[in-house]
């Protein structure tokens, strides 16, 4: 072993190579690293507890019986002798109508995913691949609409939909998705531009028309970004409060966020059931998040880069 010539690396673990260091320095270095690492774990564990404990607390609250107040004077962190799993069923079907709210929310989210995927992929392909006069300025307009918050337009949009009799239906919550969402168009376009143009050209030579190139070549190759868009759309609609709040006026159409928000502000709310419903409501986004985690974070990362 060449002790004399090998230049010791400060973070090398091989004992032989570190012989060039005085023992004390070595211990100090190792010790410092261990302490830092330990500190990092302590902080990370504390933060994880900060995130997870409220969820756990929500679960215990959801399992309590009606008569035991959630808000006992000294809060119980465990439901002790009460494990009322039936509360979840009651929140969904019997006492609270969260099954129906869930169904309503799914219908809206599904419609939005459908509309978003169809319109945004078409438009993104047009901007990513085809040459046409005005493509530059139009794309600029698209970017600008990304910066205008929807809330600024919610009043006139509401009036328009009200005028054509769509107030009180879910149509105003779905129809705009078929007109494309600037952000997703941008995202998909960026992705499509990474697909080699030669593929389009090979397909042109193979006799495919633009539509066939889109449908058979570019779209199948864009599934990662389409998944990201579908997930974003789902989560946005699953969580959306303001839109449904404005357009829906009938309890039978309400979505989960409205249902939850209404219960909080109402007197005499069964808090155990509310917590159960809330807990159920966070399951789908979390599950989807776990399933597509990699793609999702990749998608967010690409957004972050383009800023």
């Amino acid at each position: 072993m060449s002790v004399a010539t090998a230049k010791p690396r400060p973070d090398a673990d091989g004992a032989g190579r570190n012989r060039a260091y005085p023992l004390a320095t070595l211990i100090r270095r190792r010790g410092k690293r261990a302490v830092l690492k330990g500190a990092a774990y302590v902080i990370l564990l504390a933060l994880s507890a900060f995130v997870l404990l409220p969820v756990a607390w929500m679960l215990t609250a959801a399992l309590k019986p009606d008569l035991v107040s959630v808000f006992t004077v000294t809060p119980q962190w465990l439901p002790t002798d009460h494990w009322d799993w039936v509360n979840f069923r009651r929140a969904l079907f019997d006492t609270l109508p969260f099954a129906r709210y869930t169904f309503n929310t799914l219908v809206i989210a599904g419609g939005n995913i459908l509309g978003t995927l169809i319109s945004c992929s078409l438009v993104a392909y047009g901007f990513a691949r085809l040459r046409f006069r005005g493509s530059g300025p139009l794309f600029y307009v698209l970017i600008v609409t990304m910066l205008i918050p929807w809330q600024a337009l919610m009043v006139p949009q509401f009036l328009m939909f009200f005028k054509i009799g769509w107030y009180g239906t879910i149509l105003p919550l779905i129809a705009p998705a078929f007109g494309g969402t600037a952000f997703y168009i941008f995202l998909i376009r960026q992705y499509m531009r990474t697909i080699p143009r030669e593929l389009d050209e090979a397909a042109l030579v193979d006799g495919l028309n633009r539509w066939q190139i889109f449908w058979r070549i570019v779209l199948p190759l864009s599934t990662p970004v389409l998944t990201v868009c579908a997930v974003f759309t789902f989560i946005y609609n699953w969580n959306n409060l303001l839109g449904p709040l404005i357009y829906l006026n009938n309890d039978s159409q309400f979505t989960i966020p409205i249902g939850l928000a209404n219960l909080v502000t109402r007197a005499g709310t069964p808090w155990n059931l509310l917590m159960a419903a809330n807990l159920l409501s966070i399951i789908p986004p979390v599950v989807i998040y776990f399933v597509v985690q990699r793609k999702l974070i990749g998608g967010i990362a690409s957004v972050g880069l383009k800023g």
């Binding site: 030669e198 593929l199 030579v205 495919l208």
Partner: protein
């Protein structure tokens, strides 16, 4: 199957520069034309215009009896092999090859037959179920070829199809392409920047420079009888040795003088009018490396064909030896030469510039392996002066081409 004709084809880019300038080409039915030139010479643009991937600014393209100017690529009945293969990543080899037939609604059985026939020709039957990412570069190349073959098109268009392969595979695939092309007899336009590929593949080769066609001929003719300095310098490896010289009359002979060297111009060249017109003026002399031999081997050579020069480098190639030697005259470094070396060999240009400064040129001779000349020796070399090339320094035009044609006939 069909002939292809380009008539006065031009392509202007947005800034007004001409990528292709008044190109006229005719490829007879069943023949293969190599379109060759350094990068930026417009060869790929020309090919893409034939394919329909680029619009023409002016001119006419005919494939068979149809003018195809306004036809979409898919309607031109041509197949293309791309540089990076452009295989559809989400499809198997079979699907890649079958797609164009599916689009054309070819019956299933016929489609199946054609794909399998192509696979057989290309020996890729066992790859049919694989996707591009599971294949090697050579296999992808075969599938790309297969995609072209199943079409049974009027013409194949190939855009540097071998440039992504390693050297050994490239040679192998080159003969494969040649075999298939001859087997099928499909008219082919083959774009390459590699003159060796153009030499070995083309029935004919067309050399382009900055959008302008320089010469079309059989590869042999291009090599033996280049129309100008650019073609002469581009074809051949190692390239033609070139030096600026004075053409003088002494007694009955025409001699070229460069530095301390004199070579007597061969009889045939001497007789040519275009050569005589340059007597007393400067010309560019070109000598192919294989036309220089070692005097110790070739003892009978007359005085007017000898060069006494210092050997700088000796490269043993087995069947031959490359001797690099210096000549005490500045090298040719005009726009043509710069264009030839621009894309791939920037260090060649640097070396030339250095030589220009020190007013000496490095020549290469391809000599018999018997040669005993060593580095540092003053060697006696013999030039086959019947094979000298002379060029007009102002225009680059080759002089005495009519004479050389005659020589090559008598040989």
């Amino acid at each position: 199957m069909a002939e292809i004709e380009l008539i006065g084809v031009s392509k202007a880019f947005k800034d007004g520069t001409l990528a292709v300038n008044d190109l006229n080409l005719f490829i007879p039915d069943g023949k293969i034309l190599a379109l060759v030139g350094p990068s930026g010479c417009g060869k790929t643009t020309a090919l893409r215009m034939i394919a329909g991937l680029e619009d023409l600014t002016s001119g006419t393209i005919r494939i068979g009896s149809d003018v195809v100017n306004d036809l979409d690529p898919g309607a031109r009945d041509i197949a293309m092999v791309f540089q990076n293969y452009a295989l559809y990543p989400h499809m198997t080899a079979y699907q890649n090859m079958a797609l164009s037939l599916r689009i054309r609604k070819v019956p299933k059985a016929e489609m199946h037959r054609r794909v399998h026939k192509a696979a057989e020709i290309l020996r890729l039957e066992e790859l049919l179920k694989k996707r591009p990412r599971e294949m090697s570069g050579g296999q992808r190349q075969r599938v790309a070829m297969g995609r072209a073959i199943v079409r049974e098109p009027k013409a194949f268009l190939m855009d540097e199809p071998l440039s992504n392969l390693d050297a050994k595979l490239r040679v192998q695939m080159r003969s494969e392409i040649l075999r298939i092309q001859q087997e099928l007899g499909t008219t082919t336009v083959y774009v390459t920047h590699d003159q060796t590929e153009a030499m070995t593949l083309g029935d004919q080769a067309a050399v382009m420079r900055l959008g302008v066609l320089q010469q079309v001929d059989t590869p042999q003719e291009l090599y033996r009888n280049p129309a100008n300095l650019f073609v002469a310098g581009f074809m051949g490896s190692p390239g033609m040795n070139m030096v600026e010289a004075r053409l003088q009359r002494t007694d009955d002979d025409l001699v070229v003088e460069f530095g301390s060297h004199r070579l007597v111009v061969g009889e045939a060249l001497k007789a040519a009018d275009s050569v005589r017109a340059f007597v007393g003026r400067s010309v560019i002399v070109g000598i192919r490396p294989e036309h220089i031999s070692d005097a110790s081997v070739e003892t009978s050579a007359p005085q007017g064909s000898r060069l006494r020069v210092p050997i700088e480098l000796r490269e043993e190639m087995g069947s031959e030896i490359l001797l690099h030697f210096t000549v005490d005259a500045p090298p040719v470094l005009n726009e043509d030469i710069k264009e030839i070396h621009a894309d791939k060999e920037p260090d060649v240009l640097e070396a030339l510039e250095e030589q220009l400064e020190s007013r000496r040129s490095v020549f290469v001779a391809r000599v018999d392996p018997e040669s005993r000349s060593r580095v540092g020796d003053m060697a006696e070399l013999v030039v086959d002066t019947t094979r000298l090339y002379l060029f007009d320094p102002a225009t680059g035009r080759a002089l005495g081409t009519e004479a050389r044609a005659a020589v090559h006939v008598t040989n």
